[in-house]
């Protein structure tokens, strides 16, 4: 629905920064199974772009098509105006950081980084200089003579990154870059990786199934599901205005209601849902009609939870606290509404022991603002 439409004006001309990498109608089938449906994407120069989706959504296949390891069944891929179709991996100005890195086990860190440069037939001096630069960039100068198995996971990752950046590729591909790291190291390496990539100024496409990783690292995200791109946008666009139930439910958590449009006005809409006693009031118009079946989603952190009944007429519900998940920074209350709907509401623990006031079985009210939810028609 909201996937960005390409304007095919610069079909053969030199690509601008707006569409440095263009994926045009790319489709990939394996023995009748469609891994990637006709996909259009355009990626700007210098961007870190994430393909996000669950396993089997086609994100890795699409990445492998970019790297040249898979041949698209149809469609074209242009990088900096140059057609990539038909070029084998070793002739593409694209380098990839493989999942779990695929470092050459019989070579030292130095030799791993120098491998790509040697293939280009550079002089020994030039190779040595470039390797030193890369080692400095990823801060591994002291470990240059080590073999991969003598390095920690985080160090191996940096070697892999240095190796894929050494040739100064036009496009860097990252396949599940954090997949082999434990959780604590992950959040640290995410920012470090972004810093290194931004320093080198390379355009980057990454594949991940981890929404946090995509949101932390990427400037834009393409959300993929069963071979199709469902939404493209910046992390906050995708989070705050998802265009489909799939997008809303895939990223973060959401309270999702089924309902019918009751009043459809130019500047507001009301929705009646069997899950809620009070009507839903949306403070802006939508492109719909009265009686239309819609979904309404509101995220737990947009919801206010209190013991007193809020004064407003709409956007509220009463229920009993059934579960409390304490996360330290915030608590998530699971409130069971009379309709049986389980409503999630976050409570920020801004004061110490602040959430102690409410406990299991308490009658509470949940409420939200007129513009805090999204109406979804698909």
């Amino acid at each position: 629905m909201a996937t960005e439409q390409l304007n095919g004006t610069t079909q053969n001309g030199k690509a601008g920064t707006e569409d440095y990498l263009r994926i045009v109608d790319v489709r990939k089938e394996f023995d009748g199974f469609v891994a990637v449906e006709d996909t259009d994407l355009s990626i700007r120069k210098g961007e870190i772009f994430a393909l996000l989706g669950g396993s089997g959504c086609g994100k890795s296949t699409l990445l492998r098509c970019l790297g040249g390891f898979e041949t698209p069944t149809s469609g074209k891929i242009y990088l900096d105006g140059q057609l990539m179709n038909g070029l084998p991996p070793y002739e593409r100005p694209i380098n990839m950081m493989f999942q779990s890195y695929a470092l050459f086990p019989h070579m030292t860190v130095e030799q791993n980084i120098a491998f790509g440069l040697k293939q280009d037939g550079l002089s020994k001096d030039a190779i040595r200089k470039r390797v030193e630069e890369m080692l400095a960039l990823v801060q591994l100068v002291k470990l240059a003579k080590r073999k991969p198995h003598q390095l920690s996971g985080g160090q191996q990752q940096r070697v892999a990154l240095a190796r894929s950046l050494a040739k100064g590729p036009k496009l860097l591909l990252l396949d599940e870059p954090m997949g082999a790291l434990d959780k604590k190291l992950r959040s640290q390496m995410q920012l470090e990786l972004v810093n290194i990539i931004e320093t080198s100024g390379v355009t980057c496409v990454m594949v991940t199934h981890d929404q946090e990783e995509a949101m932390t690292m990427a400037t834009r995200i393409a959300l993929m599901d069963s071979g199709r791109i469902r939404q493209v946008g910046t992390p906050d666009e995708i989070y705050e205005s998802p265009t489909s139930r799939f997008a809303a439910e895939f990223i973060g958590s959401v309270n999702m209601f089924q309902g019918k449009v009751d009043e459809d006005m130019a500047d507001y809409v009301t929705i009646v849902s069997p899950s809620l006693e009070a009507a839903i009031y949306v403070g802006h118009g939508i492109s719909g009609f009265e009686g239309q079946e819609v979904s309404f989603g509101v995220r737990p952190e947009k919801v206010h939870i209190s013991k007193e009944e809020p004064p407003q007429k709409y956007n509220k519900a009463r229920g009993k606290i059934e579960d409390i998940a304490y996360f330290g920074s915030h608590s998530v209350f699971h409130v069971r509404l009379p309709s049986g709907f389980k409503f999630m509401a976050n409570f920020a623990n801004q004061q110490r022991w602040a959430s102690e006031g409410m406990t299991w079985g308490d009658e509470v009210w949940v409420s939200w603002g007129d513009n805090e939810g999204v109406v979804l028609t698909s």
Binding site: P89, Y90, F104, P105, F115, D120, H149, S164
Partner: protein
Amino acid sequence: MNAKLIGKMFPHPRWAVISVPYLWLLVFFAIPFLIVLKISFSRLAIAMPPYTPIMEYVDNAVSLKLNLTNYIGLFTDSQYVQAYLSSIKIAAISTLLALLIGYPMAYVIAKLPPSARNIAMMLVILPSWTSFLIRVYAWIGILKPNGLLNDVLLKLHLISEPLQISNTPTAAYIGIVYCYLPFMVLPLYTNLVKHDHRLLEAAYDLGAKPWKAFLTITLPLSRAGIIAGCMLVMIPAVGEFVIPELLGGPDTLMIGRVLWNEFFNNRDWPTASAVAIVMLLLLMIPILIFNRVQQSEIEGRLT
């Protein structure tokens, strides 16, 4: 009686397990080796058995006489030295040929889909299920002047008169390479099938053409398999007797045949034993190298 005491009376059960291979080595390797070693230090005698004892008890004294003439003879008589050199040469060339044929075979099999791999490996191993001797005889049938090979080549008009292959060193090479090929393919396959395909993809990605990627990634990573395969072919090939005897003709000089001649034709057990001991020592060198490489391979993987 308490349990501890019973435990002390009987050795720990783990000895029962460990002792089996050691007993095996003692009975079937160490003792025969010591007997051969003993005979190699004795003198030829017309007796039964045909050698003199090396230990004697005369005048209340035990005397041990280590007679070195057999060994000295080996190194002064050029026939033995030549036989050793020729054996090593034939074994080395055969090993190289087996590697050149076996590596592509193992490589292709390792690239097959898993179900086809097992069938292909089966086909490599299956001939070994028939008798070794029958397979060597079959080669006589193929290579002899009016054999299968010459028939086919003559019918195709590729040659005008039969090739003389049987009873030449060429036939011995063919026989050795054929018989030991599975021992080359097996360790290479075991090694190659474990290779991570993504390493090759990474090499392509970094600009290496397939041939270059093979030379820089696959080949060095299969070093252990190459060494294992070469050892498994080279070591038995050096002492090979049946193949040069049946296929090689009089020109194929190998130490196994010299040994056979000394033992059965000349009934010179001491010289035959000395020949065997020196051959063993010669083979120890590659075996030790093999062990060292394997050791470092294992250590490299553990750290």
